[in-house]
């Protein structure tokens, strides 16, 4: 079994008299890409900031690369990459200047297996900023700036990378390139990635595992497929007979279709649609937030 890079047990966070996290438990194993999904205000950013060592938790046990982020030293920092939401910092600098400057902090931590920092030109090419390398950062668009943030996050060749809403403001092409970059990092560099996102499609595409955070705890944990299968066992069957459309919801699509085809030879346009991640997500979050479905979801979380 692979070693845990992140271990969280009973994590709680309280701001004033408001509980944001009420008991979060999860692990992330080496080399995994894990997406943390959840509605606005669910505590995704709080969770990731606690793991980054940027925020003190109220209670619970947290271990990141073998250390408690609250007490971790600067050597621990060197092994971690954080992609921050930048805004207008270093406006007068160029991407090349800033990357080579920030990269220098990691030079003392270079090892033969993990040379640090990344070569600046290689990094600029990886995030598609090679043509803008010597322009003032001020002149970059929102998406270009975000790509620079990603480059800064990985300049120290981290073993563990945190990304908070990494593709906000990306166009589809930049988003595709970003996904390729994450694949490359995990395949070639054995980097572990924990990201928060709003984008279900993105989570499905790049994450090995999805955690859904709602009402202050993890309500689901599994691959996109597993989640869809477990939460919403049902499927929708659609077909046409003599130009007439039919739709039927069933829990056992295979048996239903077998009977349907046997009974009616004129079936056309048969379509079986399993619940998507989006259906699962909406169903889960809705039931947790309305407090109706806590029973089944607890059962589900235990099963996972």
């Amino acid at each position: 079994m692979a070693e845990d890079v992140i271990g969280v047990r009973g994590l709680r966070m309280r701001y004033g008299d408001k509980d944001v996290l009420t008991g979060v438990d999860f692990e992330v194993r080496r080399g995994e890409v894990v997406a943390l999904l959840g509605p606005n205000g669910a505590g995704k950013t709080t969770t990731i900031e606690i793991l980054e060592g940027f925020r003190r938790r109220s209670a619970g046990e947290v271990s990141v690369l073998g250390s408690d982020p609250e007490r971790a030293d600067e050597d621990w920092r060197a092994r971690i990459g954080v992609v921050l939401q930048s805004w207008r910092d270093h406006a007068r600098w160029t991407p090349r200047m800033l990357l080579s400057h920030l990269g220098t902090y990691y030079r003392p931590y270079s090892t033969p297996e993990r040379p640090r920092p990344y070569d600046v030109d290689e990094l600029l090419a990886m995030v598609g900023l090679q043509d803008l390398a010597d322009q003032k950062i001020r002149t970059l668009s929102g998406g270009q700036r975000r790509r620079l943030d990603v480059a800064i996050g990985i300049v120290g060749r981290p073993e563990l990378l945190f990304l908070d809403e990494p593709t906000a403001g990306f166009d589809p092409e930049a988003r595709r390139e970003f996904h390729d970059l994450i694949h490359r990092l995990t395949d070639m560099e054995d980097t572990t990635v924990l990201m928060t996102t709003h984008d279900l499609d993105e989570a499905e595409k790049i994450a090995d595992r999805i955690l859904i955070l709602a009402a202050g705890r993890i309500v689901a944990d599994g691959s996109a497929d597993e989640l869809a299968r477990r939460v919403n066992k049902g499927a929708q069957v659609k077909w046409t007979v003599d130009g007439q459309h039919f739709v039927h919801a069933t829990t056992d699509a295979t048996a239903f279709v077998r009977e349907l085809l046997a009974a009616n030879p004129n079936i056309e346009d048969l379509e079986v649609r399993r619940a998507t991640l989006e259906d699962t997500y909406i169903a889960l979050v809705h039931s947790v937030e309305s407090g109706v479905g806590t029973g089944p979801i607890d059962a589900f979380a235990e099963a996972g």
Partner: protein, 286 residues
């Protein structure tokens, strides 16, 4: 393997120099230098023929060193204060917090950047004044050395407090209240534009608590003949007192600054940056 901490210190010093060079090429900063230069030199120009009663000295001769002392305090306090307040909000600080020993580098870069800026801020006023007016400028080698020593003491006494207050204020919008306001008050009471002895006793006492009065006095001692000391409190340049007061500020500032900065850095988070951003955007909309 190089020591990561001393490596970070070196990177920071280099960053400070880079920031300084970028600032010299930035129209915004160049305009600011020209603005203060025009204001100060213009003020002296309109008073260029005014004598100081009871002496052989001209108003320009006495006031130029006082203005330089006051501007040193202004630059070394408001400069780091506003930079820090802004960079806490725009994510710069968080970037360095995310890097190993990044905060060491960041603070080193601020020290270099803010110190380097002293040179152009003094030069843009001193050089044109020396060209335009008679008998102004440091007196001989001793005068120049005194000016350097006073400047160095001023940097140590004031710069840490700029960083401390910049760490403590709740947001960059408060920069005016915490940065400009105290400086403006000190401008008025520190004997910059008129002799401090014209003021009530308690105001004189208050002014002598703060570095601005002493920097002005130190600068005057570098620029004026010894006879001019007769105009000062106690009829002396009070060199020893100047060193003691400024050194006290320096020791207190340099002791407090690391603690305050560390505490501030610990509290930095992405959500804070996000909140500041939302706040600023809302202000734009209003």
């Amino acid at each position: 393997m190089t020591n990561p901490r001393s490596q970070a210190l070196r990177i920071g010093l280099r960053r400070g120099w880079t920031e300084f060079l970028l600032s010299l090429r930035s129209p915004q900063d160049v305009w600011f230098y020209l603005f203060t230069s025009t204001l100060a030199v213009g003020f002296l120009w309109f008073n260029r023929n005014n004598p100081i009663e009871g002496t052989e000295l001209l108003y320009t001769q006495v006031t130029l060193p006082s203005i330089l002392g006051a501007l040193l305090v202004f630059g070394l306090y408001v400069g780091p204060l506003s930079t820090l307040a802004l960079e806490r909000e725009d994510g710069t600080l968080l970037r360095y917090k995310a890097a190993p020993h990044g905060m060491v580098g960041y603070v080193a870069s601020q020290a270099v950047y803010q110190t380097a800026q002293v040179v152009p801020s003094v030069a843009v006023i001193l050089v044109p004044s020396m060209l335009l007016f008679d008998g102004v400028g440091p007196l001989g080698l001793r005068g120049w050395l005194t000016m350097l020593a006073v400047t160095a003491l001023g940097i140590l006494a004031v710069l840490p407090f700029g960083l401390i207050v910049g760490s403590l204020i709740p947001g960059s919008q408060k920069g005016g209240t915490w940065g400009m306001l105290p400086i403006m008050v000190l401008f008025g009471i520190s004997g910059i534009f008129f002799p401090i002895s014209n003021l009530w006793g308690w105001v004189q006492a208050l002014a002598q608590v703060f570095p601005m009065y002493w920097l002005g006095l130190g600068m005057r001692s570098a620029f004026l003949p010894d006879a001019a000391a007769a105009l000062e409190i106690g009829g002396s340049w009070r060199t020893l007192e100047t060193v003691l007061v400024l050194a006290t500020w320096a020791v207190v500032g340099l002791t407090l600054a690391p603690r305050v900065l560390r505490r501030m850095a610990e509290r930095q988070s992405g959500s804070q940056v996000q909140e500041a951003r939302d706040r600023a955007l809302q202000q734009w909309v209003r």
